[in-house]
Symmetry: C2
Subunit: 200 residues, 2 copies
């Protein structure tokens, strides 16, 4: 049997990724799939597509917040609107690459999402990211130095460019093999496909 893998493109600045970051590990647990976290510069993809949130109708943005509140209620996740939005997420994304060496990738990613979307912290600030590292038992100086380094930066660029080539235009985006799914509201389709692959 081939290994079941979910590739998950996320960005900390994406509200829908907040929800997916806590729901997707549950989907993978239930289906025995491996989860690969792929930090994605959403702003880079938006620029590539000449897209901007400013171009969205005001009624749509207002509706999105209502929709997020409904999902918060349904999932029990304590989502709240941050005071800084959108936010520069690049260093936080690089941090996820750096955390791999200490086996703290998922814990770090979930903690950054909580800091921004639950506790309204400024995740663009190195001090805030350093605090998160400390909370995970990682040396803040080592973590921050590597997060600001060229290797992590290049790796996030590589992942983002590869994602765009594969057709990623937003976050969260999931791949199961060649099948792409976009949105927190498509995880049921992801799960269905993972279960179906058991039947073979």
């Amino acid at each position: 049997m081939p290994a079941k893998v979910v590739e998950y493109y996320y960005d900390f600045s994406s509200t829908n990724s907040y929800f997916a970051t806590f729901l997707t590990p549950e989907v993978c647990r239930r289906t025995g799939a491996e989860l690969r976290w792929l930090p994605f510069y959403l702003v880079h993809a938006f620029r590539h597509n000449n897209h901007s949130l400013d171009k969205e109708p005001r009624a749509k943005l207002a509706y999105f917040w209502r929709d997020h509140q409904r999902w918060a209620k349904r999932t029990g996740l304590p989502f709240r609107m941050p005071s800084i939005f959108p936010i520069k997420s690049s260093q936080a994304l690089r941090g996820a690459i750096v955390m791999q060496q200490w086996g703290k990738e998922q814990a770090y990613i979930q903690e950054v999402f909580r800091a921004y979307w639950e506790r309204d912290e400024n995740i663009a600030a190195p001090a805030v990211l350093g605090q998160i590292a400390v909370g995970l038992g990682v040396d803040a100086n080592a973590f921050l130095r590597e997060s600001q380094g060229e290797a992590a930066r290049q790796e996030v660029i590589r992942i983002t460019d590869e994602g765009i080539k594969r057709g990623v235009f937003g976050a969260p985006t999931f791949f199961v093999g060649d099948e792409m799914f976009w949105g927190k509201d498509r995880l049921d389709f992801v799960e269905e496909l993972l279960r179906k692959s058991d039947e073979h």
Copy 2:
């Protein structure tokens, strides 16, 4: 107990409205809610919001078609991509107003969606709409004359303007009281709210 009502804004040119047009009556049947069909000039709302499908990234439009195929499979609805897209839906929308007097509104709307999204017919052509009227036992000449008349046109404009004022920016959009929901993929939230109102 106040009557339960779902107000449903649709446009024939909207793929997602195709799915909602067959799924929403089922939601209303299961919950004992009344369904109000509201023909909506989507192109008018897009113009209002300075929005155009041409501005959407190509990767997103490609993904949408894949998503529609998945919904077709899940729902069993025989959706297929029409050869004329987008299509001018104004006369077909006015026809829905005209059909009310004969009690054929829902049957007509579902038939127009089938003609366009299942059988690839040109629903911008009066001859095609006349055929649909005949199939419903309605005199095609009377139907077409009224569909081209000013009263039906003004009524669709009124409904569309009112929708835009309420925050409608796309289709399908549903209202249950003041709560607005957008997308075929939010009908589970609509159904949940309708059931909750039973508890009071």
